[in-house]
């Protein structure tokens, strides 16, 4: 059986990738943000996972409104970065963890989930940026990836409770996988931000800190909140935080909060991360 070596929650703000591309990660604006990720990178380097499961949303780059999947799972052998309007970024393609992906799809359907199964598809900053934050800019990524897309764009978006249930199936899939791969689970998105409407620019530092402090061992409140609660507390796009629940649900009931980091704003977003380990 494969092994979950830890769970990461992290922002995936596109400006993070842009800051790296422009070489301004050491500027006064960005340095405090990136510095907070150094221990996360060290942790990852030490843990040496073989596979990263990345839960993220597409941002109108890969899926159009003609066909919106509630959940999609990648089973491709590779995933290229998609052109988001600025040209394709020069970062390596991501190799797919195809065997684990198909196994996960089998488990999902058995457990009454209804994924869109994707074999030829590109990935946007939602997957790219978390990989860069925790693995840097290697020549080749040191892990294979299993991408899980969650619709957070067009309503109805899935409920936080459904995301939680998916995390349980993810754990079952990893633990029943015939192999000895080491797997890290990365729930991405958020923290608080709002890009649309006259409340644009809304950031809720207090709610963000509460989230980072309590997602490890007081997650019940977050698991039980409604979609409306998420939008209200974290902003319309901050509702992306429901994707951290997939990661959290795949971990043990009690976990070790190894590290956390918060910085606001990154672009228009409260940004940060946690690293969790099972005890």
């Amino acid at each position: 059986m494969a092994k979950i070596i830890g769970g990461v929650g992290t922002s995936h703000v596109p400006s993070i990738g842009a800051a790296l591309d422009k070489g301004i990660a050491d500027s006064p604006d960005w340095k405090p943000f990136f510095d907070g990720y150094i221990p996360g990178k060290e942790w990852m380097a030490e843990k040496k996972p073989d596979i990263a499961v990345v839960i993220f949303n597409d941002h109108g780059n890969t899926f159009f409104l003609d066909r919106v999947p509630t959940f999609a799972v990648g089973v491709a052998d590779h995933y290229d970065p998609v052109d988001e309007g600025y040209g394709r970024r020069s970062i390596p393609s991501f190799e797919g963890a195809t065997d684990l992906s198909w196994h996960f799809v089998d488990k999902l359907v058995e457990n009454h989930f209804d994924p869109l199964v994707c074999r030829e598809i590109e990935v946007d900053h939602g997957l790219q940026v978390p990989m860069e934050l925790f693995f840097g800019r290697p020549e080749n990524w040191p892990v294979k990836v299993l991408p899980i897309w969650v619709n957070t764009i067009q309503y109805p978006i899935p409920t936080p409770q459904r995301c939680w249930e998916m995390g349980k199936v993810l754990r079952e899939a990893i633990e029943s996988f015939p192999g000895d791969e080491r797997v890290v689970i990365m729930g991405t998105g958020g923290l608080s931000h709002q890009l649309q409407g006259s409340r644009a620019g809304f950031i809720n530092r207090e709610a963000d800190e509460d989230w980072l402090n309590n997602i490890a061992n007081n997650y019940e409140k977050f698991r039980d909140m409604s979609r409306e609660d998420y939008v209200e507390q974290f902003g319309s796009e901050g509702a992306e935080l429901i994707m951290w629940l997939v990661m959290r649900a795949a971990m043990d009931d009690k976990v070790d909060l190894k590290m956390k980091h918060y910085h606001a704003p990154a672009s228009m977003t409260g940004a940060g991360m946690v690293v969790l380990e099972n005890l």
């Binding site: 780059n61 109805p156 809304f202 228009m268």
Partner: protein, 112 residues
């Protein structure tokens, strides 16, 4: 969920998805470099190709982000229009908040 009433917060539900379909489809196409060139070369012709209404065309061509969103433009798609200019996302936020850019950065994001 579709009638959620959170102040100053439009949710992109069926109404936005239906109303904004053409704007968003046109904007999505700007993920392709060839389409970006066509857009830059003759913006109006490009918008016509996607059958935008006169109102939609006007909102896009005058970069009226607030109106684009009100007409169902979803930010993640229309950001690809912004990418062509380029317009910073904070300027789009400021337009929607009804603030000038400096005030927006200061009041909403706490930047001096």
């Amino acid at each position: 969920m579709s009638d959620a009433q959170i102040p100053e917060t439009p949710l992109f539900d069926r109404k936005g998805s239906i109303d904004g379909y053409r704007i968003n489809k046109m904007a999505m196409a700007l993920g392709d470099p060839a389409n970006r060139e066509a857009f830059k070369a003759d913006e109006e012709a490009f918008l016509d190709r996607y059958k935008l209404t006169p109102e939609q065309k006007d909102a896009v061509m005058s970069r009226d982000w607030n109106r684009m969103v009100a007409m169902g433009g979803n930010l993640f798609f229309i950001l690809k229009i912004a990418a062509v200019d380029p317009t910073p996302i904070t300027a789009i936020g400021a337009a929607q908040a009804g603030l000038d850019h400096a005030d927006f950065l200061k009041q909403r994001l706490g930047k001096e």
